[in-house]
């Protein structure tokens, strides 16, 4: 009863791994799949290897963490070797990619198409270098060009991952839909945020600013999913502070067809996937829901 689909791609259950969390190696992603996730989104990678920022790249705050990993990755050539080792049987494998230009995106898309079921475009990382990440997703024109170029080059569905750090997320969502995105995932990390150590009188992160994730950002993510659901027709994947089955239901009721889980793994371990699946099934039986499909967006209905 937990099956769902996102633009025609079937998921055993609505849970997948969020980009950038334990997603750099086939080994860790296979472990996550064995732990109950129906799909995995890889760490975002680019054409060339990139070391990311110096440490500290993460710091804990009330209700979550802020991070500025800086999109470190071994480059597409190395990453293809990882993608090949992911167990695709019954699982959905999604590559997250990033770049600065339409050409970079389409080149990445072409190279990985045969190895994955879907491709997520990271146009939303709030601590990327100038020209990357959210500097794309905060600009409608840039977003349109990048999504359109990726879609043209792709044989698999394209997901545009959105940043909440804009004045109006529905505008960008509609732009991405117009440009051909098959689905949207939201939200990437919030802010940016900052943590200052008061004894050393310095921002903790090497990059000073970092994106916020975890429980604290869930209300913002839910609100964004709810708004975007009313603005677009393409399916939505909810991300941001999912820790338990209640959170999953909240995202689905707001309009998501599936959710991604990241920071919760820090607190709950990889067991979080099987735990949520079990609890979600009990909830659905209790309430008389027989499919995820019938639950999607119902918080919009009525009065």
């Amino acid at each position: 009863m937990l099956e769902t689909d996102v633009c025609g791609i079937r998921f055993r259950n609505p849970l997948m791994l969020a980009a950038g969390i334990m997603g750099s190696t086939a080994s860790s992603m296979n472990w996550i799949l064995e732990s109950g996730a129906a799909g995995v989104v890889s760490k975002s990678f680019s054409l060339k290897p990139h070391p990311g920022y110096k440490n500290p790249t993460t710091v804990g705050v009330d209700g979550g963490i802020i991070n500025a990993i800086g999109l470190s990755n071994p480059g597409v050539d190395n990453f293809k070797e990882e993608l090949k080792e992911i167990n695709r049987k019954d699982n959905v494998v999604i590559a997250s990619i990033y770049g600065a230009t339409p050409d970079e995106f389409s080149s990445l898309v072409e190279q990985i198409n045969p190895l994955v079921d879907m491709i997520e475009l990271n146009i939303s990382c709030p601590h990327a270098m100038e020209g990357y990440g959210a500097s794309i997703g905060q600009d409608c024109n840039l977003s349109h060009t990048i999504v359109a170029a990726s879609k043209d080059a792709s044989e698999v569905p394209i997901i545009a991952k959105l940043t909440p750090n804009v004045t109006d997320i529905t505008e960008i969502a509609k732009t991405c839909e117009d440009a051909g995105a098959d689905a949207l995932s939201l939200i990437n990390t919030l802010g940016p945020g900052m943590k200052i150590n008061i004894d050393l009188a310095r921002p903790v992160l090497f990059n000073k600013f970092g994106g916020m994730s975890g429980k604290a950002i869930k209300p913002i993510a839910i609100s964004n999913v709810y708004s975007v659901y009313e603005a677009v027709d393409v399916p939505i994947i909810g991300v941001g502070g999912v820790y338990n089955f209640e959170d999953v239901v909240e995202f689905i009721f707001a309009g998501a067809r599936a959710v991604q889980i990241g920071t919760a793994i820090m607190d709950e371990g990889v067991e979080v996937f099987s735990k949520i699946n079990a609890d979600l099934e009990v909830f659905m039986k209790d309430k008389g829901y027989s499919s995820i499909d019938e639950m999607v967006g119902i918080a919009h209905g009525g009065d």
Binding site: G20, M22, S24, S28, P56, T57, N73, N197, V204
Partner: protein
């Protein structure tokens, strides 16, 4: 466990060897042997094992091998650093009346020393203390005053057994067996030791190192093939059964970008 750096004041610095220093500071962070801290000097942050666990006091022992560690070596008593942790899964310590063997190579003595203090309370402990040369034998004086059977060992024979730690281990195994062993050192050394201990049917804990970023179990930087385990959560210490499943052990690791080398 804390996830944001806590500023601590260095209260004592010990010159252990020409390349290794120990830094002592007060902190309310609680730790077990084998766990590690992320140490922040305001320009970078790197993992360091806890080498001694006192009352509201911890030590780290740092070998100067690059930019960050050489900056740490410039610190003076009274300077502040940031520490967060303690992280990871440490050594097994629930032994009683056992014959145990602690093996440390170079600065790999750091985590096993915090452990040894714990083990000697209830067990008969042999310590294989290895280094390239006499001057680099870490904590030699300490171990000579502890209630352990000390087996120093240097590559160049300048002190104790002459040769690699693995040779020294083979010679020890000629007339002794052990219930359990604990190993930390360069991976090239550990793989040799692992092969010998497996052959001799001696179960053991091994402490691994991989490039660390978050140390919180999220970034995925430190995951090992093929299990996917995180050195910062499931590790850094693994037992023989687990090591068997870590294919990359002794073979390769990944740099900050994730490129294998």
């Amino acid at each position: 466990m804390i996830r944001a750096p806590q500023a601590v004041k260095i209260k004592e610095i010990i010159d252990e060897t020409p390349t290794i220093k120990t830094f002592k500071f007060d902190t309310d962070i609680k730790a077990n042997p084998g766990e590690f801290l992320m140490v922040w000097n305001v320009s970078d942050e790197k993992p360091m094992s806890i080498s001694n666990i006192g009352d509201n006091e911890l030590s780290i022992t740092v070998k100067n091998i690059g930019e960050f560690t050489s900056k740490l070596h410039e610190l003076e008593v009274g300077d502040m650093i940031g520490v967060r942790g303690s992280y990871g899964n440490g050594f097994k310590t629930d032994f009683k009346d056992k014959k145990l063997l602690v093996i440390g190579g170079g600065v790999g003595m750091a985590p096993v020393t915090a452990l040894t203090y714990e083990l000697i309370k209830d067990n008969d402990v042999d310590v294989l203390l290895a280094a390239t040369t006499k001057d680099e034998l870490l904590f030699l004086d300490t171990y000579e005053s502890l209630d352990v059977n000390l087996h120093p060992c240097t590559d160049d024979g300048s002190y104790g057994f002459e040769g690699y730690a693995s040779n020294c281990l083979l010679s020890l195994l000629e007339d002794t067996s052990y219930d359990y062993a604990f190993v930390c050192g360069p991976e090239i050394m550990m793989i040799g030791i692992y092969n010998i201990l497996e052959e001799a049917n001696i179960p053991a804990d091994y402490s691994l190192e991989r490039y660390m970023k978050c140390a919180l179990g999220v970034c995925g930087q430190c995951c090992v093939d093929n299990t996917g385990w995180r050195i910062c959560v499931e590790g850094p210490v693994f037992d023989s059964e687990q090591i068997k499943l870590i294919d990359e052990f002794g073979k390769y690791r990944r740099d900050a970008s994730g490129v294998k080398y």
